[in-house]
């Protein structure tokens, strides 16, 4: 890394991508209009499990404007199955065809596809298709599903257990529990959630028969994954397939996938010889785009009476839904990687059982596995403190590794890169005015108010990830080109969809090359431009993608120094580069990067043996994950009459290493906390006992609104990561990971006087009111 002055990095610059978005002239997938475009709509199963006994498409086909009506029998032999890329040993996988065959396995399962020359006709066609179903027994409860004799989700698999994954780490777990003074146990349900980006999914596919090439635009986080995996589904080779992720209206993991509809649109474009578009409805997004979380855990903590935690045993039942989407079974295994949180816990034993049920697949939703782990350990710390009569903050401090102990190996088998957990906790306590807050808590309780304070100290996994930990590469690619004009084009293999890397990457590149940020353009999201990449998820893009760009600029500067030496008639090792200028002792003049770029492309005076041009590409392979951390402190008051929770104070201190753009970091943290407040207080994806989805619209799925959000008090500490030259750690999921247990702990703390030690989320007014009411009745 060059020793450039940092002019832009660290500055809260407003975003380069914003003007087009605030003027309404950005192009999302559904905004694309191609000549002759046909519109796709799906007939989806209203049953969770049924045999399809007949399909009559004749009326639909007769509707004016309807071009094609196709069933599973028409397409499943011609279109490959939906892939699962998770590397889980002995995983039992049902065959996941793009349309249902003779059975449906979840409400929303696509059964028939209708193509028409306008979107209204396509929906008319859907309404006119007659499908007859013979309903079959349904299994929706994963704990029931693993009992002997349970109804089988997929009878041909012979079991509902997709996999069992064991984590056995650190010292002997049985010995730990033998030495314990007490064992504290808790069952915790981590509810199912729906990611709900405001833009539903959309796909446009256009086949160019002459060249045999295909262009697919998709509202996806992972255009490069699609380019790798769709060839096996649609029969167009990787090097003839172009994937474009235009503006993408939020992802949160929901668009980190390869979906049946993406392949079907490609297949239909070829089959019908016309471009096609599918724009998902909100109802479809709720039924047929992945869900998140849904883990039931039984936890046991072995403790000494002084609070020393000796070991942690866990059995987790993860509800996978009816199919494995791209990473479905891998998500719960991430929980096993950070189960011990920020704490020195010497022995861990965890069993994760992945279970099929008649629901939509779960997969990576913001945080993916880490919110589950963090929620558990943070709830358990409060339970241990409560049981032993210890201060919950002291208990946490007692188990933190010292800042000097990093890299810190955990019993879960990972090595935390760097940390100062005490520093973040102390800063959060300062910002929260901890003493005053505790006095307020005491005073409120004396006057009978239900006032609680919650604390969460979290560590999470970012920069996902080292290739060794990934099914198919965890590196990132970048390319930087200094153009003949001196303008700089930076191309990233990541695929930003709201994170703002057109700005933060321009900040990095402009600083590296000593050029004005106005001269840097960042390109992404089109595999014809960004040839290789591993896209955006797992808080990886800035760390791994940003470093790949730094590597490119290092190569460019090294090459430019050879040019400069040649032009200044000095030895290359005499050339210095600073502030965009190349200079050498005794040389008459300095040369700008733009001047060298001109020489490099005009190429009439090349240094011997040097290629023309000033461009470099790089792959960055990160040596380890990064482990950001922080402390969230929340104060709540509960209305005893209604059970309504009001957040009185919200303090978050997050340490993601040095910040490239503090304004964007703040946005990521605030947005992440909102997801957490949603999970803690409002959101739950609900299926009834028949497998009917009851939360299929925004009307029924309660996401936070502007009135539900407190004013945040945010702070940060800066602990650089040794894994990359920028020292950065990633922040996209931190808020969602750190905040949920803080809110839940605060609510449960507020109910302490009523004897409540645990409640499962979401802590809706009804659930809280029932807890108050039952306790009050019981103690009267």
């Amino acid at each position: 890394m060059s020793a450039q002055a940092k002019k832009y990095s660290g500055q809260p610059l407003k975003r380069i991508e914003d003007p087009r978005l605030i003027k309404g002239i950005g192009t999302y997938t559904d905004d694309l209009r191609l000549p002759g475009l046909l519109h796709v709509a799906f007939v989806r199963s209203p049953h969770a499990h049924a045999r399809v006994t007949s399909i009559d498409t004749s009326v639909a086909k007769a509707i004016k404007g309807v071009v094609a009506v196709l069933t599973g029998a028409d397409v499943n032999e011609k279109c490959g199955v939906v892939p699962c890329a998770a590397a889980i040993p002995d995983l039992k996988l049902p065959k996941h065809t793009v349309l249902a065959g003779d059975r449906v396995y979840f409400v929303g399962h696509p059964v028939v596809v209708v193509v028409a020359d306008d979107a209204y006709a396509a929906r008319d066609g859907v309404d006119a298709v007659e499908v007859e179903y013979d309903p079959l027994p349904v299994v929706v409860n994963p704990e029931e599903a693993i009992k002997p004799g349970a109804t089988l989700t997929h009878p041909d698999l012979g079991t509902n257990v997709a996999f069992t994954h064991n984590v056995n780490g650190g010292t002997d777990i049985d010995e730990a529990f033998r030495r314990a003074d007490r064992v504290i146990k808790q069952r915790v349900y981590h509810q199912r959630l729906t990611p709900m980006p405001i833009e539903p999914r959309a796909v446009v596919a256009s086949y160019h028969a002459g060249e045999g090439t295909m262009s697919i635009w998709s509202s996806t986080q992972v255009p490069h994954y699609l380019r790798t995996l769709l060839p096996g589904m649609i029969g167009v080779a990787e090097n003839k397939l172009r994937i474009v992720a235009p503006e993408v209206g939020g992802g949160f993991g929901a668009k980190l996938n390869v979906y049946a509809e993406e392949a079907l649109c490609g297949h239909l474009a070829m089959r019908l010889g016309a471009p096609v578009k599918w724009a998902e409805s909100r109802r479809e997004n709720a039924t047929s785009t992945i869900h998140g979380r849904d883990q039931i855990g039984y936890y046991e903590v072995a403790v000494k009476n002084d609070g020393t935690i000796l070991g942690l045993k866990a059995r987790t039942i993860a509800d996978l839904g009816s199919y494995c989407q791209l990473l479905t079974p891998a998500v719960p295994t991430l929980t096993g990687l950070v189960l011990t949180g920020c704490y020195r816990i010497p022995a861990v034993k965890m069993e994760i059982v992945g279970v099929y049920t008649h629901k939509m697949a779960t997969d990576a939703y913001r945080g993916a596995g880490r919110p589950e782990a963090t929620y558990l350990i943070e709830r358990l710390m409060d339970l241990v403190a409560k049981e032993l009569g210890l201060d919950r903050v002291d208990l946490r401090l007692k188990h933190f590794p010292a800042p000097t102990e990093f890299p810190f190996g955990t019993a879960c088998g990972v090595t935390y890169d760097s940390g100062n957990y005490q520093g973040a906790l102390e800063k959060a306590r300062q910002l929260a005015d901890w003493k005053a807050l505790m006095s307020e808590r005491t005073a409120a309780r004396k006057s009978g108010r239900l006032f609680g304070v919650g604390v969460s100290t979290y560590v999470e996994i970012c920069a996902i990830g080292p290739s060794a930990a990934m099914p198919a590469g965890g590196w990132e690619w970048g390319c930087v080109r200094v153009e003949i004009s001196g303008k700089v084009t930076a191309i990233t293999g990541t695929s930003p969809h709201g994170q703002g890397q057109e700005t933060s990457f321009a900040q990095i590149v402009a600083d590296q090359l000593g050029v004005s940020i106005e001269d840097v353009v960042v390109m992404h999201g089109d595999t014809a431009v960004a040839h290789y990449g591993r896209d955006t998820y797992g808080s990886r893009a800035t760390v791994i993608g940003g470093t790949a760009l730094v590597m490119c600029t290092d190569k460019i500067i090294a090459k430019a120094k050879i040019f400069a030496a040649h032009l200044l008639k000095v030895a290359p090792d005499q050339v210095a580069f600073a502030d965009g200028q190349f200079s050498a002792p005794g040389a008459e003049k300095t040369l700008s990067l733009a001047a060298i770029a001109g020489e490099a492309y005009v190429a009439k005076n090349l240094p011997p043996g040097l290629e023309p041009g000033l461009e470099a590409s790089s792959f960055f392979e990160i040596p380890n994950f990064t482990f950001p951390f922080g402390t969230h402190i929340v104060a709540v008051e509960i209305d005893r009459e209604t059970g309504q929770v009001a957040i009185q104070k919200y303090v978050a201190v997050d340490d993601c290493g040095p910040q490239i753009n503090p304004l964007l970091v703040e946005g990521q943290v605030q947005g992440g906390i909102a997801h957490s407040i949603g999970q803690a207080l409002f959101e739950q994806t609900v299926y009834d006992e028949n497998g009917q989805l009851l939360t299929g619209e925004f009307m029924d799925y309660a996401m936070p609104r502007a009135t539900d959000i407190p004013e945040y008090i945010l702070g940060h500490t800066v602990t650089p990561s040794p894994t990359n030259p920028l020292g950065i750690k990633g922040v996209g999921e931190a808020g969602t990971i750190g905040a949920t247990p803080a809110v839940a702990n605060a609510v449960i703390d507020a109910l302490e006087s009523l004897g409540v030690t645990h409640l499962d989320m979401p802590l809706t007014p009804e659930r809280v009111w029932r807890a108050i009411h039952q306790r009050t009745v019981a103690t009267v």
């Binding site: 605030i22 003027k23 709900m196 209206g249 909100r282 909102a674 936070p704 004013e711």
Partner: protein
Amino acid sequence: MGARHQPLEAPVSIPVRITINGTLRQFDLDPRMLLVHLLRDACTLTGTHVGCETGICGACTVLLDGSAVKSCTMFAVQADGAEVTTIEGLAKNGDLHPVQQGFWERHGLQCGYCTPGMIMTSVQLLSRNAKPSREEIAHGLAGNLCRCTGYSHIIDAVQYAAGMGGAR
């Protein structure tokens, strides 16, 4: 099977005149066409987005005679004779509207999908209350969902716009 699906009657076209972003436009419309689809498909004003089709998320919000309406739950024919302003019509002579400027200055957007609707609702909010408190802003935006920002920067953005003269 199929009995309930009678052949559809030939659609009736209804003549409609709507002023869209200051220009009078005439259409012959299928009565079931939603206003949002008229704007997006017939007028290629794709800045107005569809997020839920049930009037909950507000991504489709436009101004109809100055009032914020959700164009996904309104038939285009109902806008006959009205003036519609979409996000594309907000900047005047290349100058951003104060609310647009506020969203840019205060990082009031991430993915940008809810943003046009948020901005249009904020314009109405400031036209009714030039100096709203944070609580009043939150209340005024409760009909628009954002999944990215956590709303705090959006409220900052509206306050910034209020400081610049708000509704304009």
